[in-house]
């Protein structure tokens, strides 16, 4: 193709992501977005203006070298595209799928100012998937340093830190309380959005190339404590996330049929409850489900619930899933694509609606949820307009299952026997955001344990920065 002018590039329409048909996918757990073909990827890459001062990079929390990888992709040099990508991002196949691109890289893309932004995320996924299959960018490590590093938690923060620190020649052991590594990528985000094969492919490859030892079934704070670990290791990274679910303090919240999004998603994703009884863990879903909240966790819960219902429903049987959210569509915090997919699949949005009570059927089960209508008032501290109750607008919504997706805080177990490790009043760990250093010598932390529930890429960025500082510490004079 001859070199195009900027004007010509801007005229190319953004390439749609091929997806499973909404009707079909609402009844299975297979991946929804199918990925670009090589042809489409290269066509999309042509839309990039190769900005000298790329805005997109400013929008990316880890500063992925976006114009460079897109250029290599456009020229058909996939190995180079992968190499450029991996300078900043170890896990492009994952980020390409789950980053909230509209608020980050794509949100800043110059092409997006007049039309649709360059589909950076989809291109990133294409590059990541290519690397998963071809492994053109082998992970190598420096000569052994003799230093031992422990990484607690195997989510994106821990995995990124472990890989980077192992590459410097330090011996890494990872500890994970569950029976499978991966953190939220495995127990939270569903198969249809992020296939587990992608996550395990990355974990296996990294552990094999770098000789990282992953010890599952190790609950830090119980099986071992931070104190025990510090006796044996030269440095520790805490990446235990924010897994403790919050429940609303409303009457009826402990009834049968009310569960946290974490419980529901863990039953479905980690334990494969949707394949019960071939898999042992059951998951119960009613005919009419209310999901409280509208973040990614709520969207995932709603879409999982809808699929489960469809798989269990008899011919012609009706079933519904509602998202109940106290603000309006504009404030919905979930990734744009997920909201769009949820709507397409048939999830109903009850906006400006807030639950006030869950109602008992007399036998301890959920019969209905009492809600009140809301309207938007003055902006609050978060800059969003504050929802206020409309007096007398209560109504009962008939439901048999309520899934609470209102946020999480760090799990306190890891803080057992961790004197000197300071925490905020929200339960998060105090850490330097640049270096990841906590208030306790030789202990770094990053990801949701520091920020509270955030994003995959921000957790990865924190893991990366901590690894860099940890390496400097381990190879320096050891001052804290």
């Amino acid at each position: 193709m001859a070199e195009l002018t900027a004007k010509q590039r801007m005229e190319i329409p953004r390439n749609e992501m091929p997806a499973q048909d909404a009707k079909v996918r609402a009844g299975n757990y297979l991946e929804v977005a199918l990925g670009y073909s090589e042809e489409t990827a290269r066509a999309e890459a042509e839309r990039c203006l190769q900005c000298k001062k790329p805005k997109c990079v400013e929008g990316c929390p880890v500063g992925v070298r976006i114009p460079q990888f897109i250029k290599a992709l456009r020229e058909g040099d996939m190995a180079q595209a992968v190499a450029e990508m991996k300078i900043k991002n170890n896990l492009p196949a994952i980020c390409g799928r789950v980053c909230p691109q509209e608020n980050q890289c794509e949100g800043q893309c110059i092409v997006g100012k007049k039309g649709q932004p360059v589909a950076v995320g989809r291109l990133e996924r294409f590059v990541g998937d290519y690397e998963l299959q071809h492994r053109t960018c082998p992970l190598t490590k420096a000569a052994p340093t003799g230093k031992k590093v422990a990484v607690v938690g195997t989510g994106p923060a821990g995995l990124t830190c472990a890989v980077d620190i192992a590459r410097e020649g330090h011996k890494v052991t990872m500890f994970e309380s569950l029976h499978t590594p991966g953190g939220v990528l495995v127990y939270g985000i569903p198969e249809f959005r992020l296939p587990k094969g992608v996550v395990f492919g990355e974990i296996d490859y990294a552990t094999q190339c770098l000789g990282i030892d992953i010890r599952t079934d190790y609950v830090i704070g119980r099986t071992l404590t931070l104190k025990d670990i510090l006796e044996e290791y030269d440095a520790v990274f805490l990446g235990t996330g924010a897994g403790l679910p919050m429940f609303m303090r409303i009457p009826g919240i402990n009834l049968n049929g009310v569960m946290s999004a974490n419980e529901f998603l863990t039953r479905v994703n980690l334990m494969k409850g949707y394949m019960f009884p071939e898999y042992d863990t059951p998951v119960k879903i009613g005919k009419k489900v209310a999901v409280i909240g509208a973040g990614n966790v709520a969207m995932d819960s709603a879409r999982c619930a809808y699929r489960l219902q469809a798989m269990q429903a008899k011919e012609g049987e009706k079933h519904e899933v509602h998202i109940v959210y106290r603000r309006s569509m504009e404030e919905v915090p979930a990734r744009g694509e997920e909201v769009h997919h949820a709507e397409e699949e048939g999830v109903i949005f009850d906006l400006l609606t807030n639950p006030v009570e869950v109602i008992d059927d007399g036998k301890g089960n959920v019969k209905a949820m009492r809600c009140i209508r809301m309207e938007l008032g003055e902006p609050d501290a978060s800059g969003r307009r504050r929802p206020v109750e409309i007096k007398g607008s209560e109504f009962d919504m008939e439901v048999d299952t309520v899934i609470v997706a209102l946020g999480t805080s760090p799990n306190p177990l890891v803080f057992v026997d961790a004197d000197g490790l300071e925490r905020t009043k929200h339960g998060t760990t105090v850490a330097n955001l640049e270096t990841g250093r906590t208030t306790k010598p030789k202990v770094w932390a990053g990801g949701d344990i520091v920020t509270g529930a955030a994003t995959v890429i921000s957790a990865m960025g924190a893991g990366k920065r901590a690894a860099a500082d940890m390496h400097a510490f381990l190879s320096g004079n050891g001052t804290w």
Binding site: H179, D217, V219, N254, E263, T266, T281
Partner: protein
């Protein structure tokens, strides 16, 4: 994934049949044995498709690196585990979880164990005895064939009362009867009571001790998934608000538990549990048929 234990599994090194539906298993898990204390539990997962099943640490041997479990075969997972043999391995084994029992010299204490609850009450009674308490133990079961560890309990108790519902062994009564008699007689000043068994038994023990204001600790067996505070599925309403059994417990003040809520939550997955047992039995029959056909 390079992991010593998870790659090879955790080995069953000893197995005993205690009653028709109760099995004892000793499993190698050195990292758990090292930290184990009375009152704590573990989460076991049999194989790649298995559920995460909480079981109390009935005993431990730190030097051998083993944990003793006692299981009652009530559903698919416990039946499958009960059918495994010495040398077999399970896929995961995490713990020790929950808070240990607070052991000290209280004076006179009562340890009540019902059914499979005799297993977890044993290490508590033993530790309390070692701490210098006068230990009154009361154990009970529906009938003689379900009762086990009478001798072991006797060895760590100053007094042992044995009850069966049908009178086939010991006294024909409920565990609450000798307990009430002891409290009413005031022959000893009872400082603390532990009760472990079916929810209904613990509920009635708590009701029995309430009028005497006798501190009563129960060990709750709510339905769990992760066992690490991540799902909230194990939550139980107490008078001061809901608590997570896996991280805040498993022991709680029996006078504060909302028993009806706990019991209703335990029933929630009944139809699914039934279906799992049917499917498991069907598969076992097919396996037996296939073996016969092949032979």
């Amino acid at each position: 994934m390079a992991d010593t234990a998870a790659a090879t599994g955790y080995k069953i090194v000893q197995k005993e049949t205690l009653s028709d539906v109760t099995k004892l298993m000793v499993i190698e898990a050195p990292q758990v044995a090292k930290k184990a204390q009375a009152g704590q539990f573990i989460i076991i997962r049999i194989d790649e498709r298995g559920e995460r099943v909480p079981l109390t640490i009935a005993d431990y041997d730190k030097s051998a690196g083993t944990i003793t479990l006692i299981l009652q075969e009530v559903g698919k997972s416990t039946m499958q585990l009960g059918a495994m043999n010495v040398g077999d391995t399970v896929a995961s084994f995490a713990g020790p979880l929950g808070h240990p029992t607070e052991i000290k010299n209280y004076g006179t204490v009562v340890c009540v164990g019902g059914g499979v609850g005799i297993a977890p009450i044993y290490p508590i009674a033993r530790s309390l005895k070692e701490a210098g308490n006068y230990v009154v133990s009361i154990i009970g079961a529906r009938n003689k064939s379900l009762l086990f560890w009478e001798e072991k309990m006797k060895a760590v108790s100053d007094e042992l009362h044995v009850c069966t519902d049908d009178g086939s062994h010991g006294r024909k009564c409920l565990v609450t009867d000798p307990l009430k008699e002891l409290l009413e007689s005031k022959r000893r000043d009872v400082a603390h009571i532990w009760a472990i068994g079916p929810a209904i038994m613990m509920k009635f023990v708590a009701l029995a001790t309430k009028p005497f204001n006798a501190p009563t600790t129960v060990s709750l067996n709510s339905i769990m998934i992760d066992g690490t505070g991540m799902c909230g599925g194990c939550r139980v309403p107490l008078t001061e608000g809901a608590q997570f059994v896996c991280v805040d417990g498993p022991e709680f003040d029996g006078h504060k538990v909302d028993w009806n809520s706990l019991m209703s939550r335990l029933q929630f997955y009944k139809p699914e549990e039934q279906a799992a047992v049917e499917a498991y039995k069907h598969k076992c029959n097919l396996d037996i048929a296939a073996e016969k056909g092949g032979a």
